[in-house]
């Protein structure tokens, strides 16, 4: 438990010292979302319809953008190997890294998303559901992404490769997440989608750190 806290604290500290890296992914998120009205046209009805999907897709891409660095920096200076050699569980290490990634990259997305939602003409309750769905969904993105980051550690073209590997696995999150918001818009309610998203979170919380730890071992041996 103490190890978990240390891993998370260390990553957050590193992120606050290198603010430029950390902000890139957030601005990428805002930029991608802002491109859509320019490409599609400013019709409010259309924008309201595509808004939830666009914000969710941009969130997936922004998560993957920052994901390739999750283990890479520690791998380059040898810290990762030392942490793997330490007497603590590698699963806890992978879990801590994923949680830290979520705190650093996921929570800012949550905070920015309502502002972008307003640009797309979403309002009131829908915005809350958007935030809630992102709050449940983005930890899954961090957990699953860490598998890809561990598998592509130190490979040429790792950044693009991780997108190819992980994006198909993100499909259920995208469907349930955007579905919750669209369900609220359509008046069906969001409970079903949010519950499924929650179930998926529990499943990935159980399995993903374990798989990431195995992947790290494969990549480092």
């Amino acid at each position: 438990m103490k190890f978990l806290a240390t891993v998370i604290q260390r990553d957050i500290l590193l992120a606050t010292r290198r603010r430029g890296d950390w902000l890139t992914a957030q601005f990428f998120f805002v930029l991608v979302v802002s491109m859509f009205p320019l490409g599609i046209g400013p019709d409010p009805a259309v924008l309201r319809m595509i808004g939830p999907g666009v914000i969710w897709v941009a969130a997936l891409l922004a998560t993957l953008l920052s994901m390739s660095r999750l283990y890479a920096d520690d791998h380059r200076d040898g810290t990762l190997e030392q942490m793997m050699l330490s007497p603590y569980s590698n699963i806890v290490l992978a879990l801590g890294k994923s949680i830290a990634h979520w705190i650093i990259n996921g929570i800012p997305l949550l905070v920015i998303a309502p502002l972008l939602g307003i640009q797309f003409g979403l309002a009131g309750k829908v915005l809350w559901i958007l935030m809630l769905s992102l709050a449940i969904g983005t930890p899954i993105l961090s957990l699953l992404g860490s598998i890809g980051a561990a598998l592509t550690l130190g490979l040429r073209g790792g950044g693009v490769l991780i997108t190819l590997l992980i994006l198909p696995l993100y499909v259920p999150v995208l469907i349930f997440g955007a579905g919750a918001v669209e369900g609220t818009l359509a008046g069906i309610g969001a409970e079903a989608n949010l519950s499924l998203l929650g179930a998926f979170l529990v499943l990935s919380l159980l399995l993903a750190p374990w798989v990431s730890a195995t992947a790290l071992k494969i990549s480092l041996e």
Partner: protein, 244 residues
């Protein structure tokens, strides 16, 4: 006879070499019979006309695309658990064939969809999950191609395969709840088939042909991978093709 003996590359190599032509021959014969049934024996469908005959290619290809992914995951799990070289090679040898069948299923599906639904492509559950399956195949192959060290490449690919196989049902159901237009499965184990028996036979024979073809191709591919990897081993040097 001890089957485990064939887990050793030096005994598997000649065995696969002997069996592969037989599987090719079987695939060829079955495909000829299957195609004959599907084009000349099977009656014209009263709703869909002659266009329905594409299912004799489409359905076996779709079955194989899913089945091969599961077989790959099976070999990956065995490889990761017991560290057997041959299992990884089998998983790897199957990947391109699986991707090919997925592609054929999508392509023939588009050809079928145009006259039947009036659209080449619709975002329906089965189509979409088949497309995502194709992405999963591509992902595994891309990952394995990007890693130079064969040991790491095998194991990383196997792990990704296992993650994929857990995800496939989740993806399938998520997409299913998301949108559905595809007609229900025409063949089911629990109820009487909703098609003429002769059509079913044509499809099953074509599926067997595809199966035999997949085995034959996987053997040939596994053999060349073995030669490449074990080129330093003494048993390869003693082979006529290893002396060159």
């Amino acid at each position: 006879m001890n089957l485990y003996r064939y887990a050793s590359p030096s005994t598997f190599y000649p065995l696969a070499g002997r069996l592969a032509p037989w599987f090719f021959a079987l695939a060829f014969i079955l495909a000829v019979i299957g195609l004959y049934i599907s084009f000349f024996v099977a009656p014209t469908d009263f709703q869909q006309g002659e266009g329905y005959r594409i299912i004799f290619i489409h359905v076996p290809a779709a079955w194989m695309s899913m089945f091969i992914y599961i077989v790959m995951a099976f070999w990956s799990a065995i490889g990761l658990a017991w560290n057997t070289r041959l299992s990884f090679i089998m998983a790897r040898a199957l990947a391109p064939t699986g991707a090919m069948f997925t592609f054929i299923a999508l392509w023939t599906g588009a050809f079928w969809g145009k006259p039947m639904w009036g659209a080449w492509w619709v975002w329906d559950a089965r189509l979409t999950s088949e497309l995502i399956l194709f992405f999963l195949y591509v992902g595994v192959m891309a990952l394995q191609a990007a890693i130079d060290d064969p040991r790491r490449s095998d194991r990383a690919g196997a792990l990704l395969n296992l993650v994929g196989v857990i995800n496939v049902p989740i993806i399938y159901f998520s997409v299913k709840w998301w949108n559905t237009l595809h007609q229900g499965s025409s063949v089911s184990l629990t109820r009487a088939p909703s098609m003429a028996h002769i059509m079913l036979w044509g499809m099953l024979i074509m599926a067997l042909a595809a199966w035999m073809y997949a085995i034959a191709v996987a053997f040939v591919r596994a053999r060349s991978m073995l030669l490449e990897r074990e080129r330093q081993a003494s048993w390869v040097r003693e082979l006529p093709e290893g002396k060159a």
